[in-house]
């Protein structure tokens, strides 16, 4: 993935010690990553290019597939749904991730380790398992509905799954750790004395947070936003399971076109649009924040 690529490059260049013979040294390092580069090209870039190609050639050469972006209600619906779910997911994940990071950042070092473990453990559980877990929790006879009815809060089970709500719940659950990591990293860089200084200079707790802590953690927030948004654009398993086939997001729609309806052209068209959208998002945000830092390269 592009993540590992850009993380490796700065790390390598930082490890280059002597300014003498820079060419030779650099050549050496590049030689080391050449196999990985070739592997990426053959197994990753080539198929993508082929996808791109198909979108212009199937069923017949031309821009027909892309025309659908503007003419087909179905295509527009999918894009709209995808964007809406992604934006909501990103917003909710950022809010939860920020709150969680804040708690972790202010905790004692010992408590921080436990918190971090708690945040990271879900990452090791298969997304499939987690999605089905949410289904069992949220379905009509699930724990949540039964519990609420038992408490007398509701009379009828709520429709919590097989709709957008369910998708968002599942996706947010998956994304929060990805939001926490960059946010926490930027919060940890904040000198705690700055907050004390702000308060000593007359700022209330809240003002110190708003004028000092929030702006200083903003790069992490932006980074987390980009990361989560891009991840959610291509989400497949969670929407497929928790959407119950009724709410279609881009990835599932592409699978539907290609595997079930054998409309390769249309499927690859949306895939291409997705890739372009991701690249454009990255390009925009690379101007706002330093991408190397975002992906952990760092100074």
């Amino acid at each position: 993935m592009s993540m590992s690529g850009s993380a490796a490059a700065p790390a390598l260049s930082a490890a280059t010690p002597a300014p003498s013979l820079p060419r030779f040294r650099n050549a050496g390092w590049w030689g080391l990553i050449l196999p990985a580069f070739l592997l990426m090209t053959v197994f990753y870039l080539a198929p993508i290019l082929q996808v791109l190609l198909i979108s212009f050639t199937e069923p017949r050469p031309g821009l027909d597939n892309y025309e659908r972006l503007f003419t087909s209600m179905g295509v527009q619906n999918v894009i709209e749904t995808t964007l809406r779910i992604c934006i909501i997911t990103t917003a909710v994940s950022l809010a939860l991730g920020y709150a969680l990071s804040y708690v972790v950042a202010l905790a004692s070092p010992r408590a921080q380790r436990w918190w971090l473990l708690a945040v990271l453990v879900p990452l090791w559980i298969s997304v499939l398992v987690r999605s089905f877990a949410w289904v069992t929790l949220l379905r009509r006879q699930g724990l949540v509905n039964e519990g609420l009815m038992g408490l007398g809060v509701i009379d009828e089970p709520l429709r919590l799954v097989w709709n957008e709500f369910g998708i968002v719940v599942g996706m947010v659950h998956y994304m929060v750790p990805y939001a926490v990591l960059p946010i926490l990293a930027s919060m940890r860089e904040i000198d705690p004395r700055l907050l004390a200084a702000a308060r000593g200079l007359g700022a209330s707790r809240f003002t110190a947070f708003r004028r000092v802590f929030l702006p200083l953690s903003a790069p992490g927030l932006v980074a987390a936003g980009v990361l989560v948004f891009i991840f959610s654009l291509g989400f497949y398993i969670t929407p497929a399971i928790l959407g119950g086939g009724k709410t279609l997001m881009a990835a599932e729609w592409i699978k539907l076109q290609i595997l079930d309806l054998i409309r390769w052209g249309l499927g690859t068209m949306l895939a291409t649009v997705l890739v372009v959208a991701i690249l454009v998002t990255l390009a925009i945000f690379s101007r706002v924040v330093n991408l190397k830092r975002l992906f952990g390269g760092g100074a």
Partner: protein
């Protein structure tokens, strides 16, 4: 400019506030970081808390600032109890160790911060910021970010930021410790001049004794969380009460002897075969036969020629010496008094120091001061 004069009233002694600590203690679990410290800083005064690392200086300052809650005791500003007040309500300017400038704000924004949180109008705010930056001679750097400034400039921004809102008190935690020696000396002068110009009460923390001596009206010496002695720089240097104070503030020789005679103005001691005459100190008069400890500053010892005489004389030989530019530092080995350190001006020095060279040392009866052994010391 008018604002600048408002910040630097020449008669501004009255602009300061008096601070009093009453029996202040801070305990962390069973560990006592600060124990029963009481002291008073008069309005417009420059007080320095001086002590070795871990002596509780920062803890005291943090309690004054309101970031740390005292376990016992109280803090009074102009007679009013402020012990329970949160830091933002105290209206104290503070310069942190390492300055704690906001990295995402320009110099001007940093300085404007305390005014902004007080919701001051834009015009007034800008005028005050300009005046404060003028005061520390940083007006040209207003638009820079802190990371684009040198250490000394950052330090001055921190000062301007701490002074811009007319704080009741200015608290400084080792404001100069991150700077190199030359810059430190320069900024010491500036800090002193600034204190004179703004006339506020300053409480400074340092473990640099020269800084303490040169800047302060009063110095409070701390050790193991306790206030050992407080007084003006001269008083502390010339009349240390304990061995610790004499040793920590400047260099000192310690002479151990037994009291043999007592007279109204002084006493005579016996140290081995050497008889020492000593003027009476401020402390309690010892009894005949009791052990006594004298602190003798290296620069108060003279090298005696063949025919010279002094009230106290001892001979020995140079065990080690060092050339320090302005002077020599000699370690003279004596039979009765152990090794004695002597500071000898290098200009027209009467001898050329060499190891093993025999010398005679002399000092007057009022050169040394009787001091107490430290509490808890064996």
């Amino acid at each position: 400019m008018s604002e600048a004069t408002a910040l630097s009233r020449p008669e501004a002694r009255s602009a300061g506030h008096a601070l009093e600590l009453r029996g202040l203690s801070k305990r962390y679990g069973s560990f006592t970081a600060v124990e029963n410290v009481s002291l008073r800083v008069e309005s417009g005064e420059f007080l320095t808390l001086l002590g070795p690392s871990g002596s509780g200086k920062t803890t005291i300052l943090m309690m004054i600032a309101g970031f740390t809650t005292p376990s016992e005791g109280g803090i009074l500003l102009d007679g009013q109890d402020i012990t329970g007040l949160p830091p933002e309500k105290r209206d104290f300017g503070m310069v942190f160790q390492g300055y704690a400038l906001f990295p995402h704000m320009s110099v001007a924004e940093n300085v404007a911060f305390p005014l902004r949180v007080r919701a001051m109008g834009k015009a007034e705010r800008e005028a005050k910021v300009r005046a404060a930056l003028d005061l520390v001679q940083l007006d040209r750097f207003a638009e820079r970010k802190p990371s684009q400034l040198s250490g000394g400039q950052q330090q001055r921004v921190a000062l301007a930021r701490a002074l811009v809102f007319d704080p009741a008190l200015l608290l400084l935690d080792e404001p100069l410790s991150a700077l190199d020696k030359k810059l430190r000396a320069e900024l010491q002068e500036e800090l002193k001049a600034l204190h004179r110009r703004v006339g506020r009460t300053f409480v400074n923390v340092t473990h640099d004794q020269e800084e303490a001596l040169s800047l302060s009206d009063h110095i409070a010496i701390l050790n193991h969380g306790k206030l050992v002695q407080m007084g003006g720089p001269t008083a502390l240097y010339e009349a240390p009460r304990t061995r610790f104070v004499a040793d920590f503030l400047g260099k000192s020789n310690f002479l151990q002897g037994t009291v043999r005679e007592l007279a109204p103005g002084g006493m005579a001691l016996q140290a081995g075969g050497t008889r020492l005459v000593q003027a009476a100190g401020a402390g309690p008069r010892p009894a005949i036969g009791a052990p006594a400890l004298l602190s003798l500053r290296p620069e108060k010892i003279a090298l005696l020629g063949e025919s010279d005489a002094a009230e106290n004389m001892v001979s020995g030989e140079i065990a080690a010496w060092a050339y320090l530019g302005a002077g020599f530092s000699l370690a003279v080995r004596t039979a009765d008094l152990g090794e004695i350190r002597v500071a000898l001006p290098a200009w027209k020095a009467p001898i050329a120091p060499a190891e093993g060279l025999p010398v005679r040392l002399g000092w007057s009866a009022d050169a040394a001061v009787p001091v107490l052994e430290d509490e808890g010391a064996a």
